[in-house]
Symmetry: C2
Subunit: 229 residues, 2 copies
């Protein structure tokens, strides 16, 4: 589903030049449940942003869901993302002027075009699934950190995208709520063959994935097949 060859990402602004990803190769099969792991600053979010077509590679080749995304224009990248990818951002990225319900509804209404009654049903279903079913009327500023994180998760899963990229989706969650979120994602992978790619430090996620790709200073150290993966 995802093929990366010699991927490089360099951030430049003024005299600042940071080689965040310095030559990375990997293949991720459909319906995988995998994670990038590594120290803070090692390049996990940068890599996820490239796979999710949010940020173009500086060098190298990247195929996602069969499509070469390396040279996509901003507009084509946005359309591609809307059709194929669900993304949980490390800082949640909720829209402050929309309610929790409207935030989760957004991809169904403004990006895809689901009819209203189907949207209402689907949004409520996802909010219930992350334990936020009675909070739909609130605004992001009126909910806790872990509640924001769960709304971000619900939004990433709502379109039933083929590929879900989740950047630290359980960082702000207690054990029970984290388990609820991980179980929900496993269920979607089993039922719909959704591919899940995580970036995380959370051992609770690492214990549940089949493969971990270890990043350090922008390069992949090794691939580890989890036992019983």
């Amino acid at each position: 589903l995802i093929v990366a060859e010699k991927l490089v990402k360099t951030y430049s602004s003024g005299d600042l030049e940071v080689k965040a990803i310095r030559g990375v190769d990997f293949v991720i099969e459909p319906a995988s449940f995998v994670s990038f792991i590594g120290p803070s600053g090692s390049g996990k979010s940068t890599l996820l942003n490239m796979i999710g077509c949010l940020d173009p590679p500086t060098e190298g080749q990247l195929k996602v869901v069969g499509q070469d995304v390396t040279g996509l224009s901003r507009q084509d990248a946005a359309r591609f993302r809307g059709e194929h990818i669900g993304f949980v951002f490390q800082d949640f990225n909720l829209i402050p002027v929309l309610t929790v319900f409207e935030n989760v509804e957004y991809p169904l209404q403004m990006v895809q075009s689901w009819p209203k009654d189907e949207r209402m049903k689907r949004v409520q279903e996802m909010l219930d699934a992350v334990g936020m079913g009675d909070q739909g009327h609130k605004y992001p500023s009126q909910i806790s950190g872990g509640q924001k994180q769960r709304v971000a998760v619900a939004r990433a899963l709502v379109t039933n995208a083929k590929l879900v990229l989740a950047d630290e989706p359980t960082a702000n969650l207690d054990r029970e709520t984290a388990t609820m979120v991980i179980e929900l994602m496993k269920k979607m992978r089993d039922e719909f063959k959704t591919t899940f790619v995580f970036s995380t430090h959370d051992p609770r996620i690492v214990d549940n994935v089949e493969i971990t790709f270890e990043l350090e200073d922008g390069i992949l150290k090794r691939h580890e097949m989890a036992k019983g993966g």
Copy 2:
């Protein structure tokens, strides 16, 4: 150092009324290393915000560092915070238009009034201590999630405040960096008798504190003295 009696916090806006903290009592001694724990949405951040004089209680009494803070005006609360409290926010709350260095320098320059050469030395020392010593020139938008978190920690510790409140300070950190941050805080408690009050789900912090206060639905379930405190 901290005495809370029958503390209540109710958020009201329009017809929305949320009893986030519903009657909480506790005492925290000076130089303690303690944590509030509990499920997402249980009221941890709300409680920390009251102790940190960021948000007034709706009912009850609260004494911090010997001062009754229950009825403080916004201005007096701000001055009191600046003199006595360091706060690590769950969402970091860095100032986007200031560099990393300037963000950490802010409490020393704009809140307290340290002379320039002492500020420069102290800021660099704190950045080095959280592993961000070479990142001072960057802006918050140019660093990773865990790097932002560490800058927020450095800023909370820079004034050598008597009381440090840290809301999920390790949520975005890998094991080594989290250990670095926890060790730094323990060292400050041993050396300067700083009181540390955490709100967290992270077992790495819970393993290191002497007392955990467990919150659920806005009330305290129990106090647990950790073995070997």
